[in-house]
């Protein structure tokens, strides 16, 4: 059963201008996106800055107003007004990009982690401390840390504190928005491993938002590539990396630096070739507004945004 089902999601921001701040147009940050995530899986949203990947995550959790479309979480339509927001909020949590600014510097770790508990569960002081202790242990920090403040921790530790806060209510789905991109390579590894561990332990589902294809390849089961608010390609890791169909996907993949120095000329030539194809066949992949076409199935799980039928356009 899919735990999150997003259908034709649109999030548009008005552009205001002129003397009277009239809305003259909209930025289509997310423009008709559909996907679903199976319980216990990790779904990756990949794209460059401005692609709308973060807006999707923020829309799903309610930080951004949804223009139209349906978001069904755990069987409940969370876009409808009479859905139980409280229940949803409990089961849906978010981890943010910057471990330095997403924790309140004036609060102790105890208060930071206990905050969601205080909002949703009536616990005695003793129970609360016990739960925070358990959570800290789960994220690999000792309970002596409870009375410390965020600045006393390293970036990786802070990100784990953020995770402890996110899992405090035993949510079903965690939206992780670039959770490791502010971290050093070695710390990045630590946080990624840890996210995988607690996923197994708690049966979590992730919506993993990232610009880093290397990490996505390592971490996700299924991914989608976004470009200017639309999907250009969606599929399993194998399908996207071994058989990319859309020129934009090819471009992204060819841009990943190769860790083997002997391949550098090959990579350089590959990038030149992809760029050539991008320039020459641009209109096979993008419409007159420079946006991706609707999705077409390549296989059961693999979808690509291509023109319906190139002949017909003739």
């Amino acid at each position: 059963m899919s735990i999150l089902e997003v259908t034709n999601l649109k999030i548009h921001f008005p552009i205001k201008t002129g003397l009277f701040n009239r809305t003259v147009n909209h930025i289509k940050a997310v423009d008709g996106v559909s996907f679903q995530i199976e319980q216990g899986k990790t779904y990756g949203l990949v794209g460059e800055s401005g692609s709308g990947k973060s807006t999707i995550g923020r829309g799903v959790i309610g930080l951004e107003k949804i223009t139209s479309g349906k978001v069904i979480f755990n069987g409940v339509d969370i876009t409808s007004k009479n859905s139980n927001r409280k229940e949803i909020r409990k089961n849906l949590q978010m981890i943010f990009q910057d471990p330095y600014s997403s924790l309140n510097p004036r609060k102790r770790i105890l208060d930071i982690i206990a905050e969601p508990l205080r909002n949703f569960e009536k616990l005695t002081k003793k129970e609360e401390i016990k739960r925070v202790e358990e959570l800290l242990e789960l994220v690999g920090l000792s309970k002596e840390n409870m009375m410390k403040y965020p600045h006393q921790f390293s970036g990786g530790q802070r990100q784990r504190i953020g995770v402890a806060r996110a899992i405090a209510l035993k949510p079903k789905l965690i939206i992780a928005d670039e959770p490791v991109s502010a971290l050093d390579v070695s710390v990045q590894a630590q946080v990624l491993n840890f996210l995988q561990d607690i996923q197994k332990e708690l049966g979590l589902t992730y919506l993993f938002i990232s610009h880093d294809l290397g990490i996505v390849k390592h971490f996700c089961d299924e991914i989608s590539i976004m470009y200017k608010g639309r999907y250009v390609e969606q599929g399993t890791i194998e399908e996207i990396f071994n058989n990319p169909q859309h020129i934009y996907t090819k471009r992204l993949i060819s841009a990943i630096p190769d860790m083997n120095p002997s391949n550098r000329d090959k990579q350089f030539r590959l990038r030149k070739k992809v760029q050539q194809e991008f320039d020459q066949r641009y209109h096979d992949y993008f419409d007159s507004e420079g946006l991706a076409y609707g999705l077409k199935s390549v296989s059961e799980t693999h979808l690509v945004a291509l023109q319906e039928d190139v002949e017909k356009v003739w």
């Binding site: 990786g156 390579v185 590894a189 491993n193 290397g214 390592h218 841009a255 990943i256 630096p257 860790m259």
Partner: protein, 331 residues
Amino acid sequence: MNRKLLEVKNLKTSFYINDGYYAAVDDVTLTVNENEILGIVGESGSGKSALAFSVMGLHTRAKMEGNIFFNGKDIVNVSKADLNKMRGNEMAMIFQDPLTALNPLMEIGAQISETFILHRPNMTKKIRKDRVIELLKMVGIPRPEYVYSQFPHELSGGMRQRVIIAIAIANQPKLLIADEPTTALDVTIQAQILDLIRELKETIESGVILITHDLGVVAEMADRVAVMYAGQIVEIANVYTLFKRPLHPYTRSLLHSMPTGGQDKLHVINGIVPSLKHLPRKGCRFAHRIPWMGAETHEENPILHEVEPGHYVRCTCYKNFSFQEDESKEA
């Protein structure tokens, strides 16, 4: 073998923190040859950027010891006026964040022209403008005549980084220092900028110091690589050697922790990078991150050993280093 362009000898750059000076760059020795890219890799706090700023003489409140010989002059002891004659002329720098590295109130053209005004005072206004437009074309900016009179905020991040590169190469410097030139950019833009830097290096035949935390970038770009940890170079080698036969435990750990696909779990290095104030100043600085290696495996005063021609490794602990299962437990 190309001619030596830059020679850094026992450089120590210290900053004043609260109660005294602490060295961010500690006893670094390296050379850069003409027409070569030297990659410097390290995590935050390794001192790689402090090293780059030292070479450019850009630290305003640091204590510098040792020597940096460039074109026969020692940057550490040169006068401010002489340094200004070299900067932007014989050596130049590309910065990390294109969004903040340009003056927001100055037209693009004026910002590039400034390097000519400073170093080619006899150039006429007309020629200067032609040269700037030529440069903009060279770094791949479309409609250069138009961009000439635009302001930074009107350009995308990738375009701004091209402008910064144009400023850097304006006077065809012998030495180009690129400090994380693509960290703030999207992947596809990163590839374009890196390709551009490589092409430009070929045309102006300069030596390049490429500073990055991204091992992938180094693998694609560098001829030689220096790995920095806690202010020191722990390993330096030809790029092929370094990725094929890394020796120092830190280099090996770092490579091991990169997601390359196929691993079930990523490698995690034990412990954390100590802050500048709490760096171990004696013995092997990496020792506490590999605690299962006994004290006898380290040198008392670790030095760089040449293990094969051009391949240097600090300390002796690399000799019988092996990874330990699950290092990730909290220290």
